[in-house]
Symmetry: C2
Subunit: 252 residues, 2 copies
Amino acid sequence: MRGYDKHAFEPFAVTVDLAVLTLRAGALHVLLVERGQEPYAGRWALPGGFLLPEESAETAARRELAEETGLADVTGLHLEQLRTYSEPGRDPRMRVVSVAFAALLPDPPQNSVRGDTHPAALEPHGGGDAADARWVPYDAAQGLAFDHDRILADARDRVGAKLEYTCLATAFCPAEFTLGELQQVYETVWGTALDRPNFRRKVLATTGFVEPVQGAARLTGGRGKPAALYRAGPATTLHPPLLRTPREGRPA
Amino acid sequence: MRGYDKHAFEPFAVTVDLAVLTLRAGALHVLLVERGQEPYAGRWALPGGFLLPEESAETAARRELAEETGLADVTGLHLEQLRTYSEPGRDPRMRVVSVAFAALLPDPPQNSVRGDTHPAALEPHGGGDAADARWVPYDAAQGLAFDHDRILADARDRVGAKLEYTCLATAFCPAEFTLGELQQVYETVWGTALDRPNFRRKVLATTGFVEPVQGAARLTGGRGKPAALYRAGPATTLHPPLLRTPREGRPA
DNA sequence: CCCTTTAATAGTCTCTACGACTATAAAGAG
DNA sequence: CTCTTTATAGTCGTAGAGACTATTAAAGGG
């Protein structure tokens, strides 16, 4: 920030990388694109792209998110800046500084990602080096291009930590959800089982976390007693937090 | 991250900005530099500078920190990446993307910052547009250059939040400290008073937070009963957290 | 030297929150 | 209907935190 009108400075390429996370079939999934060209041709990578001259990293991230997921309304999705990765050599060709984001969204319809239906019809953007786009289970997302393994792991760590003291979990849920679905978010991201009555008590005792949906407040569909529906409340932080205790959980 | 070998991309200037925080005389202080030239000439700003071609943002931040504070050992200091600020127009002259850091250090000796003793002898670096460097009480650090007010506020928020669930507070303390000093860290950053016996019980009950210093374990100096000395323990996170409850505190 | 002041440390009491657990209700499958 | 499955209600015991009192060990003032 100082002296750059008197001295030369190094120009950098600035990109955004997105760890787009969702829950599908009880497992954490991440949206990956397959690289079509070198370096790392054929390898999977996090979606992302360059900042345009007149947009912020947040704006670029939301634009890329819309392009990659094909979702119309990315305005309501939770987008969170993780950190910036700037190690020299993280891109073998040039100096690239990348601002990483985590995006959380409810399990989208199967065809909402273009790559799921027409891999070849993926609209090429930012150069068209993406051959495919696909939701991949988190545990299967290994060996990604560049330092994306690290970014993805950091994203999961951050999300897991923020579940404890923020209302972030509702970002994985649709507009109306059951407490069982909300509990599955915690169990899936943390990888631990939670006691259902205690989870219920805790969530309902936290003012502003969720609020009941009046009217057709019951959802059937599966077996068992229908669950009441809730929507996200006005709170953003949890007081007191919903702590992930190392010893918690019961064996299914 | 995609396609930049086929398409033009915008080059950006990348800088680091540092919110260097310490506690002095019972108040949170931040290290500011006075800008010597336009824009914002004469205004105070956070220290910072450009990334060199072969260094990461973390390396650049630590280098700037050493240069600005004049401290010999910046290796042990707590340096934490906050977030990256990339809004177009945040620098009136050009497009600058800045990676912001928070640095925490114990109250340094009065002469450790060059600007405190020889303002004119401040070694110019990155262009020499810093006319002075000074520790400023947090509440007096208003109207900073660029978007540094926002960065500084974000730094304080982050530090305050991390005091709850990490051992970050010891980063403000010298190698050996009393529990009273540790409590002052919390009280100063949070702006609330804490009950001393309860604070003591909580800290000592958290394994790995602090460990007693054997031998000359007592520090006198002021009035009252001498306090036992402690050093930072091996833990990095607090289980359970030391929560900042809205209602906590007693009126002095 | 005694007494006050100051600060550190020890301990008590109470209430809340949470983990563990049991019981009941409401649906579908057979 | 009966069994299974899932949601919901409630109970019990304990750990931890807030509020508070008491004791100890120093400095300072007369």
